[in-house]
């Protein structure tokens, strides 16, 4: 393959990914209905205020939980510390909406908490004493305990790569442990923590399932509602634009801090592996309790709640066509992963060999798809297809293409592609960053063509990264809700959509079975990847 073919392919892929993003931006200049004027003065303020409260609270929670847990397992040895090191990322297996179902199921009137108290102490009016975690507070808790792992993973990686020299420096200066933490360790890990918080922020603003369940009106649910209930695509796009602008500013912030984080990780010179300090007695007990509580609340609690209901209402297990759901989920996962990996590889390689600044810029823009909430992407996709069908296809006299793209596996996978392209692209890119360009040049000088270098040198080198990316994408697709909900073909369900539909019909017991399966499958994927996510060797 000639150099310009790689360039062309790479250019094409990046351009396709950019289409929905451009659609959202262009929709800002379109006319909206009267409904917009009404909403602008009423709900819009509520949407913005709610989004802001939700975002701020989740950021504070995830920062506290993620950073403290990461600090404990990175710097100290205590009973269970090796277990918690990876167990604390299992919360990723519980999407916020499933956490929300568990929270409600446990604390609602005559819920699981009530049953436990009744079994322990006999009949009584316990409902009034059981706290209710619903509404905004429920949403904050659900999202925080599901997403804190972003902060935990990045903060831990940063703490882990802090050289012993840095910690010794604090001791030399006569700092106490606490002073060392906030004067030296925390500032050094700041870029990583900010990067983690930015991811949390993007996911929070994009969150649909949990906020919808708790009936909180945020910008994201506003977009969904104005499209589904009011059939106002233009207004949905208009809110999307505001949300997108907000998210882009977070994205830029995240990008800036990530650049610093990269600098930090690469500074191998003078690196001295630090030794973890062993905790004893009460200190060890406190560290254990803290980590255990986080692990229990974030993972064991929703898991056992879902298990309890599955056992209590076994009929739901038999009502559900599990094999169909597994097949559907696998089908989506395999198809999407393959497409994402192949196209991201081509795009990355095109960037690497062509060293073209325009292409580089386009690729950077195209990976912003991850920052765009699934709801917006799905609606932008429908908007684009509708426009393309009405103005181009019709004009040319062809039959409508809407059915090919909307309500089809093809359309669904295409939007997954846009949404998760950055995961695959960045994953491969960071794999490539470990490979000096002189490796490619050495291959050429050994007589390897560009294609042979790609197939025989790059692919084997990236093998582990690719496996890791496939699992990450799979995890995302298994948990993904709004895109699947909007674009799936008729009667095509996944564990996520089945759980959502049951929950939205107030059949929480029925939502338990798909939720449990979702948690178990996702946990399995996390366990496979934990080796990569939590690697301790300096690579």
């Amino acid at each position: 393959m000639k150099l310009n073919t790689w360039f062309f392919l790479s250019f094409l892929i990046s351009s396709i990914v950019l289409i929905p993003i451009i659609t959202v931006f262009s929709s800002f200049f379109e006319n909206t209905s009267n409904y917009y004027e009404i909403l602008k003065n009423t709900f819009l303020i509520e949407y913005i205020v709610n989004s802001f409260i939700l975002l701020t609270s989740v950021l504070i929670f995830t920062f506290l939980i993620g950073t403290c847990a990461a600090y404990l397992v990175s710097f100290y040895k205590f009973p269970g510390s090796d277990f918690f090191k990876w167990a604390l990322i299992l919360s990723f297996a519980v999407p916020p909406y499933i956490y929300a179902y568990s929270l409600t199921a446990f604390f609602e009137n005559y819920g699981t908490a009530f049953t436990i108290l009744k079994n322990l102490f006999g009949n009584g009016d316990y409902n009034k004493n059981i706290p209710k975690f619903d509404g905004m507070f429920g949403a904050i808790l659900s999202i925080s305990f599901s997403l804190y792992a972003y902060v935990y993973i990045l903060a831990r990686a940063s703490f882990l790569y802090q050289s012993q020299n840095l910690i010794d420096l604090g001791k030399n200066l006569g700092f106490s442990k606490f002073k060392s933490f906030y004067k030296i360790i925390l500032p050094a890990a700041r870029p990583a923590i900010v990067a983690g918080l930015s991811l949390v922020a993007m996911e929070t603003l994009a969150e649909f399932g949990a906020v919808d369940f708790f009936s909180i009106n945020t910008l994201t649910t506003g977009i969904y509602n104005s499209w589904i209930y009011f059939d106002d695509l233009a207004f949905a796009n208009r809110i999307s634009f505001f949300l997108l602008m907000f998210i882009f500013s977070l994205f830029i912030l995240e990008n800036l801090s990530r650049r610093k984080a990269k600098y930090h990780f690469n500074s191998k010179g003078g690196f001295k592996q630090k030794e973890k300090r062993k905790l004893f007695g009460f200190e060890a007990f406190l560290a254990f309790i803290f980590c255990f509580l986080i692990f229990f609340i974030s993972f064991l609690f929703p898991l056992t709640q879902m298990m309890y209901w599955t056992i209590k209402f076994p009929e739901n297990l038999f009502d559900l066509q599990i094999s169909n759901l597994v097949l559907n989920t696998l089908y989506l996962v395999i198809l999407s992963s393959l497409i994402l990996i192949i196209f991201s590889l081509i795009s990355n390689y095109g960037n690497r060999v062509s060293k073209n600044k325009t292409l580089n810029f386009l690729s950077t823009l195209s990976i912003s798809g991850y920052a765009i909430p699934g709801v917006i992407l799905a609606i932008a996709f429908i908007t684009f297809i509708a426009w393309f069908d009405n103005s181009i296809i019709k004009l040319l006299g062809f039959a409508s293409i809407k059915k090919i793209f909307i309500g089809s596996i093809f359309g669904l996978v295409l939007v997954y592609f846009v949404r998760f392209y950055s995961l695959a692209f960045n994953g491969i890119k960071s794999g490539y960053e470990k490979m000096n360009i002189s490796v490619d040049e050495s291959a050429y000088l050994l007589g390897y063509s560009k294609r042979k270098t790609f197939m025989n040198i790059h692919i084997p080198f990236l093998r582990n990264s690719l496996l890791f990316i496939i699992i990450l994408i799979s995890l995302e697709i298994i948990r993904e809700l709004p895109i699947t909900l909007i674009l799936r073909p008729f009667n095509f369900e996944t564990f996520a959509t089945t759980a959502y539909i049951s929950a939205s019909e107030d059949l929480l017991e029925a939502a338990a079975v798909p939720s449990l399966f979702l948690i178990l499958i996702a946990s399995l994927f996390i366990m496979i990847t934990s080796k990569y996510i939590l690697r301790e060797k300096y690579e």
Partner: protein, 353 residues
């Protein structure tokens, strides 16, 4: 018709739009010759190698190998089709293959070619890397990686081998041994080689010709002996740091006069008219110690360099002159003492500018 094995004609070597070395021309006459390019860091030596390898293009002049144009404004043969091998200065081993596989990948190019091939075991033995064959690049030292990379390049038996600072990371104690072995392999298999280095002794030992690159130009391209003893410009003298230039007046076809040293006799490498005011190159080995001499200067510094001392002497006109003295020499002089210079002063090759 041009009969040179390899030739560079009027090429500007560039990185992006920036010219690093301009208007370079030199040739390698015979297959199997080794030449070395010397110059300070960042001057563009690596750019020259990368361009010859085809990793960078040229827009002026031409590069030819065996009479075939590899690069010119219109032609640019892809690196994989040149049969030119470049061993990079930094670790460029394939990170996911062990050292053995890395080296053996180099043999693929010559499969099916009727050429006496370099024996793998022999090569491993010569470069002393048998103990790292099963290790991965990140598990070995920089010096070992450099030798492994060298082995991979050598085993390809290219038409032209390019070595970028091939021994810069190799321990000093081991360097001379490797240099000898490298020279032996290159000569045995008649591998035409261009070596880039900043180590003048390495260049003088390995190369049959040396090129000195300074101030964006190839200043001198000559035998190592001539580069060392007969530098053709003040820049080359300064780069090789081989002494000092003192003012003198040509008094006859075989002598000069300096205010501090008096009459100096010898053979001019380039004639100057009598009465010319010139700058005379005094190298440390040109002057000899003699306590009995009445030409005495003050010692202001003495450096111990193993086999030699280098004395720095101050003349009455405040010129600082370096003089080599064998370190076994019985009479050592301390700083501030007087140091005698043997008279008459005779220099075999008189270098003036």
């Amino acid at each position: 018709m041009n009969n040179n094995f390899f030739e560079i004609n009027n090429v500007d070597f560039k990185v992006g739009n920036k010219v690093k070395v301009k208007n370079v021309s030199f040739s390698i006459q015979n297959e199997g010759d080794i030449i070395c390019l010397l110059g300070p860091s960042g001057i563009g030596k690596t750019t020259i190698l990368r361009t010859i390898a085809g990793l960078q293009n040229i827009d002026k002049g031409s590069i030819e190998l065996r009479g075939k144009t590899l690069s010119s404004k219109k032609i640019n043969i892809e690196p994989e089709n040149r049969n030119v091998s470049l061993a990079f200065q930094e670790n460029s081993l394939f990170p996911h293959y062990d050292v053995k596989k890395n080296i053996l990948l180099g043999t693929e190019r010559n499969k099916g070619k009727k050429k006496q091939s370099i024996n793998f075991e022999e090569l491993i033995d010569l470069l002393d890397i048998s103990q790292i064959l099963n290790k991965y690049p990140h598990e070995i030292s920089a010096g070992e990686a450099q030798r492994a990379s060298l082995a991979r390049s050598l085993i390809t038996q290219p038409d032209l081998l390019l070595l970028d600072e091939p021994l810069s990371n190799v321990d000093q104690s081991f360097k001379e041994e490797i240099q000898e072995k490298l020279k032996k392999i290159l000569n045995n298999f008649k591998i035409t080689t261009i070596i880039v280095t900043h180590d003048s002794y390495e260049a003088f030992y390995l190369g049959s010709k040396c090129g000195i690159i300074l101030n964006q130009e190839l200043k001198q391209f000559d035998d190592p002996y001539n580069v060392y003893h007969l530098p053709n410009s003040v820049d080359v003298v300064n780069f090789l740091n081989r002494g000092i230039l003192i003012p003198a007046e040509v008094t006859s076809p075989k002598s000069l006069e300096n205010i501090d040293l008096g009459t100096i006799t010898g053979n001019f490498i380039k004639p100057f008219p009598i009465g010319s005011k010139v700058k005379l190159l005094i190298q440390p080995e040109d002057l000899h110690h003699d306590d009995a001499s009445n030409l005495k200067f003050e010692v202001i510094d003495r450096k111990f360099r193993g086999t030699n001392f280098i004395y720095t002497l101050k003349t009455p006109t405040n010129t600082l002159i370096p003089v080599f003295v064998h370190s076994h020499h019985i009479h050592q002089h301390e700083v501030d003492e007087k140091f005698g210079i043997k008279r008459p002063i005779h220099i075999d090759h008189i270098v003036c500018f």
